[in-house]
Subunit: 353 residues, 2 copies
DNA sequence: TCGGAAATGATCGACGTATATCAAAAAATG
DNA sequence: CATTTTTTGATATACGTCGATCATTTCCGA
C-alpha cells in the first residue's frame, strides 16, 4: 500500500542498505557503478523518502525566520499576525519560527539583518526584500550555508533567492484600472493617483499597470500625475482634500501606496458626492471605510494566503521535495459585501495575547 | 527542543507508560483517578502527540473520498481536477483519495452513493451535498462508523456533518449586486437575472443577496424577474438574445447559475453595445469571455482553495487535532486583468494524462 | 477474608529512516 | 605481489508512537 522502503531499493539494486543509504544521503565514498544501480532502482520502484520517518529519526526541527519591516504599517502587522498564528499551529510539526524586525525600506538595515542571521542556525528564511546589489553578498553566504531563501511580498535580487511569493503588482494596477474604468462606463473623467515613492518598485509597477489599461481600454479617462505622499497619511489627507475642493473635475482616486487613513479622513470630512475610490490592502481602517461607503474598492494581496504559501514552500525547499499544488496568488478585489469576517479582529487578538 | 513525549507525561503523572497510553488512546480499563492524573500532566507539560510518529507506527493511510456530481458542468470538472492534482502530491503523506461520481442534483442518487460508501473502509469523506431528510439516515450510519463527514460547495443537513466548506452564497449575490451598482454609478437601469432553478438553495440565496443590495443601495436600478434556465445553455442563449433585442431597456445581465456558454454566445453574436454582465465561476469559457470583453465580471468560489481546505480539514478531523488557520473563503471577483494564468490549462493537462 | 475482576506496570517488536561503527572485500598503488 | 586506499556489507541504536502480551497489584463484593 504505502510505497517501497529504502530496504526495498537496496535489495532491488543488489546492494546493501548501507550503500543505498550512502547514495541517498550523499555521504560519499561510493563507486559510480553503485550510485547508478541505486538511482536506477529508485526510479524503477518509484521510491520516495518518507519525510516523516526521516524527521523523526533525526529529530529534525525546521528553523525558519521571517524578515519583516517594522513600523506602523498596518499591512505588515497583518503579515506578522498571520505568521504568529500559523507558527502556533506549526509547532506541532516541529517548526520553529522567528520574526526579525527590519527597519523599513532601508537597504542598509536589511543587509545588516541578513548578516545577523549568520549567527543563528537556520534552515530557511523568507524576506520582504529590496532590489539592491548590496544584498547579494550576504544572501549568497546564507545560501552557501544551506539556508533556503525566498522573497516575500517584495522580491530580492532574482539570482539570490529560490522563489518569490507575492502578487504581480502590474496586475494589481491593471485590476484597479479595470474597475475604475467600469465604474465610469462611458462617461469621461479624471483620476487622481497617489504614490508613496516612485523608487518603490511595487508602487511604480502598479501605476504602470493602471496607466496601461486606462490608455488601452478607457480613452475617455485621464490619469492625472501622481501626488507623492511618502505613504504619509497627513500628506494624503491634505492633497486629497485639495483635489476634492478643486471643483468636480476629479472623478476617481487611486492610491497606489499606503497611508489610507489620511485619504479616508479627507473623504469622510468632505461634503457632497465623492469620487470613485480605489486603494490597496485590506486592513482595519480600509475595511471600515468600505463599510462606511467612504471608498469603493480595496485591492488586496491576501497576506494570509501568502504566509501559508511561504511555509509550504520553505518546507518543500528544505526537504528537497516537489512543491505541492498551491492556489494562485492573484490580487483580490474587496467591496463592502465580500469582506472576510475576521480579517483583523482575530489577528488583533493574537497580537494582544 | 521538541515537546515532551508520552513517556514524559507518564512520568510526570506518576503512572506507567502503558497507563498513559491507555488514557491517550482511550483503550478503557483505566481508573478515573489515573485518567485525571494523566490529563493533568498533559495539560501541565503541554503534550501534543506526535502524529507523524503515530502514523508511522500504525502504518496509517488516510482513506478519503469525494462525492462530486457528474455531468458536463465545467465547475465540477474544475473541482475534480484540483482533487486529482492534490491527491497526486498527498500520496506522499499516505493519503489515498477516491472520487465518486454522483448523478447530478438527484437526492436519490446521492443517497445511494453514500450508502455505497459503507462497502469500503474509509476515514473521511467530502460531499457536495443536498438538503434532504433522505440523507440523514445514511450519513448518521457513516459517522457512527467513525468516518469524518464534511459538506463541500453545497451543504448537507447541518446536524449530520462536521463542517461545511463553501462560500456564503448570499454574500456572492451581494457582491455581484455591488459591482453591478457601481458600474451604473447613478444612472438608472434594469437588470435581467437568470437562475437555474429556484429550488437550488445556492441559486435562491445568490438572488436574494443580489436583490437586497440593489434595493438598499441602488434605488435607481430595477431587478427584473429571473428567467428560469435549468442551467441549459440553449435556454440562456435564446432568452438572452431576446432581452438584447427588446430595446435598450436592459442595462445589465446577472446569471446566478450555470450555462454561461449560451449567454456568451448570445452576447458575442449580438451587434452593438451590450449590457454590463456578471456571471459565476471561472472556467474555460467564462475566462475566455472576460478576455474577449463579452462579459465584465466573474464571481468565483476558488475551488482550488476549497479543495485544499477540505483535505486539511479532513485530516484534522480524523486526527482529532485542532484546525490549522485557514484563509477565509470569500467570493473572489475576477476581471480580465487579474486572471490566474493556469486555471484551466494546467488542470486540463492533468485531466488528459 | 477470600476470590475474582479491574487496573496497572513492564516490556517487546514493529514503522522507515538516520547515523555510526567495524570488519570484510575489492580496487588501486607501487 | 604486498600494501594501502576505497568501497562495501553487516549490524546496532535511536526517534515517538502503537498495539500487543503477561505478570502483578489493587479493588470490590459476597
Amino acid at each position: 500500500m504505502s510505497g517501497p522502503t529504502l530496504s526495498d531499493v537496496a535489495e532491488a539494486a543488489g546492494v546493501s542498505y548501507a550503500t543505498a543509504d550512502r547514495v541517498i544521503n550523499k555521504r560519499g565514498n561510493v563507486a559510480q557503478k553503485s550510485i547508478d544501480k541505486v538511482r536506477d532502482a529508485v526510479e524503477r520502484l518509484g521510491y520516495v523518502r518518507n519525510v516523516a520517518a526521516a524527521n523523526l529519526s533525526r529529530r529534525r526541527v525546521y528553523r525558519l525566520a521571517f524578515l519583516i519591516p517594522t513600523g506602523s504599517n498596518a499591512f505588515f502587522s497583518r503579515v506578522r499576525d498571520h505568521i504568529i498564528q500559523s507558527a502556533d499551529h506549526l509547532s506541532a510539526d516541529s517548526i520553529s519560527v522567528r520574526i526579525v524586525d527590519v527597519s523599513a525600506f532601508s537597504v542598509e538595515g536589511l543587509k545588516d539583518s541578513i548578516v545577523d542571521l549568520a549567527g543563528s542556525e537556520l534552515d530557511g528564511v523568507a524576506i520582504v526584500g529590496l532590489q539592491s546589489r548590496l544584498l547579494e553578498q550576504p544572501l549568497a553566504e546564507l545560501r552557501a550555508r544551506g539556508v533556503a531563501v525566498i522573497g516575500l511580498v517584495s522580491d530580492l535580487p532574482v539570482e539570490f533567492r529560490s522563489a518569490y511569493i507575492g502578487i504581480d503588482n502590474k496586475v494589481a494596477g491593471r485590476t484597479a484600472a479595470r474597475m475604475t474604468g467600469l465604474a465610469h462606463r462611458g462617461r469621461a473623467g479624471a483620476i487622481q493617483t497617489f504614490v508613496g515613492s516612485m523608487e518603490a518598485r511595487d508602487h511604480a509597477e502598479r501605476l504602470q499597470g493602471f496607466r496601461d489599461v486606462i490608455a488601452a481600454d478607457f480613452p475617455d479617462l485621464t490619469v492625472l500625475d501622481p501626488i507623492l505622499t511618502k505613504d504619509d497619511p497627513a500628506v494624503l489627507c491634505k492633497s486629497a482634500a485639495n483635489a476634492l475642493q478643486s471643483g468636480a473635475s476629479v472623478t476617481a482616486f487611486y492610491n497606489v501606496g499606503a497611508g489610507n487613513v489620511g485619504l479616508i479622513e479627507a473623504i469622510s470630512t468632505s461634503p457632497g458626492a465623492r469620487p470613485f475610490c480605489v486603494v490597496h490592502e485590506l486592513v482595519a481602517h480600509s475595511k471600515q471605510a468600505l463599510i462606511d461607503n467612504h471608498i469603493d474598492l480595496v485591492i488586496d494581496q491576501r497576506p494570509d494566503v501568502e504566509v501559508n504559501r511561504a511555509f509550504a514552500l520553505l518546507r518543500a525547499l528544505i526537504d528537497d521535495r516537489e512543491l505541492p499544488p498551491m492556489p494562485d496568488l492573484m490580487p483580490t478585489i474587496y467591496v463592502r459585501d465580500n469582506l472576510p469576517a475576521d480579517t483583523l479582529n482575530d489577528a488583533m487578538e493574537v497580537q494582544i495575547r
